[in-house]
């Protein structure tokens, strides 16, 4: 009976592991929560079984986009006293920590990972995660390339900019690798270029976009205007600055607010 439930719960939840983004749906949430409660109440599972129920429920919650619930059941899975392999909830929690930028939980889960994961390949990933994404007092320490290279470097770049270490941040970027990048990446380079070289910054990578779309509702274009006029006149244009600040006031989503460090850095040009 226990194995039967394990299979049934497992198969019900299994596709969610490989599922991509699924729209949040309050009925789906209620359904998963109900199924979870019933599985525990009716089966009265032993520790190992309970661990797997929580683990599989975590997959389903996460696949449907219910990240808070996924986090909760993954934590419950880890709290169960059992010898079952805890790798999945730990790795998934680390993913959620990264997505949600939860530094405190990252450190806690890394400690758990080091203590409880036995698979050597996964431990290698954990080591990379720790050194590349979290790092020590100086921030990320490890810069490998490949699949996981980008977030480590962006994390370091952002940290240096927040600490106003603009020369160090600028030195991280390869100017030959900027031209084909997205506008947000190009404007980051342009900003650092002007912060370091001031009016001697030369051509801006955002210039063509600014010329073609001068009125675009975009923080990159508004920042480009500031940089362009700074190079020309040696001062930050007040109207352009007001326009940049307005963009950040008008758009509350985290994707925009996470870029406020660019505004803070650009403010140095006023000095």
């Amino acid at each position: 009976m226990r194995a039967w439930l394990m299979i049934s719960v497992f198969l019900c939840a299994a596709p969610s592991h490989a599922a991509a983004e699924i729209s949040a749906d309050s009925k789906a949430l209620a359904s998963i929560e109900k199924e979870l409660k019933q599985a525990i109440a009716h089966e009265k599972p032993d520790a190992a079984h309970l661990f797997h129920i929580y683990r599989i429920a975590g997959r389903e919650f996460q696949a449907y986009g219910f990240l808070k619930q996924a986090r909760s059941v993954y934590e419950k899975a880890l709290a169960v006293k059992t010898d079952e392999d805890p790798s999945e909830p730990i790795i998934q929690l680390l993913q959620l920590d990264y997505l949600e930028k939860n530094l405190k939980e990252q450190k806690r889960h890394l400690a758990i990972a080091r203590a409880r994961i036995k698979n050597s390949d996964l431990l290698e990933y954990v080591e990379w995660y720790e050194k590349a994404l979290v790092g020590g007092e100086k921030g990320p320490e490890r810069f490998e390339g490949g699949l996981f290279g980008a977030p480590a470097r962006w994390s370091m770049l952002e940290k240096l900019m927040r600490e106003k270490k603009f020369n160090e941040a600028f030195a991280l970027i390869n100017p030959k690798g900027v031209e084909q990048s997205s506008l947000p990446h190009r404007i980051t380079y342009d900003l650092l270029n002007v912060l370091v070289n001031r009016r001697k910054a030369g051509n801006l990578f955002c210039a063509d976009d600014l010329k073609k779309y001068p009125d675009a509702y975009s923080y990159s274009i508004r920042l480009c205007k500031i940089l362009s006029s700074y190079i020309e006149k040696g001062a930050v244009d007040p109207a352009a600055w007001q326009s940049l600040e307005s963009f950040f006031k008008e758009n509350n989503e985290s994707a925009v607010q996470d870029k406020r460090y660019l505004v803070a850095a650009a403010e140095e040009l006023k000095k």
């Binding site: 596709p15 991509a20 983004e21 699949l147 274009i221």
Partner: protein
């Protein structure tokens, strides 16, 4: 992928039968239990077990529908209501006035079954099958940027980028974006309202929904606009994080050794089928060492006389022109060896773990749109 509870329950029913037949408690239960507990391979297998089954169902359904509903052509004139095979000389003569009784066709309902117009199969993906992944118009105007961070220039040694996110966003827009250049929003392009609208468009497409995109002709034009490009760049990073850091992904990232001949053959067959079925699939491969993993889109597959196969690629690390005419490619030998135009010796290659579930979700959305448009 929206997995309805109904589908879940039907799977339970299947499992109940299997389990009931297995009185010894071995076989099904043990195998699945092993899948549930193994950290890497088992989880990948788990993810594919049910999602793969659903994808496999579409393979069977597609084959069935193609046999049941051969492409026919029906005229609305004197042959109204009479299905005539398209190769019929009489049909050819009247081809100009014929409607199309085929996926996304324009025959009215009284002449053509909804199953033919809006098949719940891979053929629903044919609506945008002409969008070749490597073509400039059908790519993001910005590249993945592996060279953004300083150091020696090598495609993947230094920074790496958000290749999985870039490939995923490209693929989704190509399959699901219904560009409509003839219509503009009333809100000015410099307004917050305009931005808000396209923010929802981007969210919908990356949520695997067939979506109307007014004001633009194709993905390149769409991604050129600064307001849009900012949001797309953010979405590329987010799509990456949602895929690359999952436990199920780590399996391929660890596979730096050569594939077996059998594995290679299965891969080639799988990818070729997907391309044939209007999907330009994303593949993940590891080269050089663990974690040195890249994701690209396969646009075509070609058999060579020596038994090897060539995957022509759309590689986000290169420009549109550098992706033309199969300049970016991987050659897979019959012995399992693999090498590429750019990455040296390649170890493991797999169809990206998101392909099955994304494709199933996309089919569902496209069928819904097609049927809505045609009154099915």
């Amino acid at each position: 992928m929206k997995l309805s509870r109904g589908k879940c329950l039907s799977v339970l029913g299947v499992v109940a039968v299997l389990w009931a037949c297995n009185q010894a408690g071995l076989g099904v239960g043990t195998a699945v239990s092993n899948l549930a507990s193994a950290p890497l391979d088992g989880l990948r297998g788990v993810g594919n077990f049910l999602t793969g089954k659903t994808y496999s169902n579409y393979t069977k359904k597609t084959a069935t529908l193609r046999v049941e509903l051969p492409q026919t052509c029906t005229t609305a004139g004197s042959h109204a209501g009479q299905a005539i095979r398209i190769l019929d000389p009489a049909m050819r003569a009247t081809l100009g006035s014929a409607c199309k009784c085929a996926p996304w066709g324009d025959c009215p309902r009284n002449l053509c079954d909804c199953k033919a117009l809006c098949p719940d199969s891979f053929d629903i993906l044919s609506v945008h099958a002409d969008r070749l992944p490597g073509a400039p118009a059908h790519g993001l105007v910005f590249q993945n940027d592996p060279d953004f961070f300083a150091g020696t220039r090598h495609p993947m040694v230094q920074g790496g980028g958000y290749c999985w996110g870039h490939a995923s966003v490209t693929s989704k827009f190509n399959r699901l974006g219904f560009f409509d250049p003839g219509h503009e929003l009333t809100a000015p392009r410099s307004s917050k309202e305009w931005r808000n609208f396209y923010s929802r468009v981007i969210d919908d497409v990356t949520d695997n929904k067939a979506t109307q995109i007014p004001g633009f002709s194709n993905l390149a034009e769409f991604s050129s606009h600064p307001t849009i490009q900012e949001m797309l760049a953010e979405k590329v990073a987010k799509e990456w994080a949602g895929k690359a850091m999952k436990l199920g992904t780590l399996g391929i990232a660890m596979k730096d050794g050569q594939m077996s001949p059998d594995t290679a053959q299965k891969l080639v067959t799988d990818v070729a089928e997907r391309v044939k079925n209007h999907q330009a699939p994303q593949i993940a491969f590891t080269f050089g060492r663990k974690f040195s993993t890249h994701i690209v889109i396969v646009s075509s597959v070609h058999a060579q006389s020596n038994g090897s196969h060539v995957f022509c690629l759309k590689d986000s690390n290169f420009s549109a022109s550098q992706n033309q005419r199969c300049r970016r490619h991987i050659v897979i030998g019959a012995d399992g060896s693999a090498s590429g135009s750019d990455y040296g010796a390649i170890g493991g290659i797999e169809v990206a773990s998101n392909e099955d579930s994304d494709t199933v979700a996309q089919i569902s959305s496209l069928v819904k749109r097609c049927r809505g448009e045609r009154g099915c």
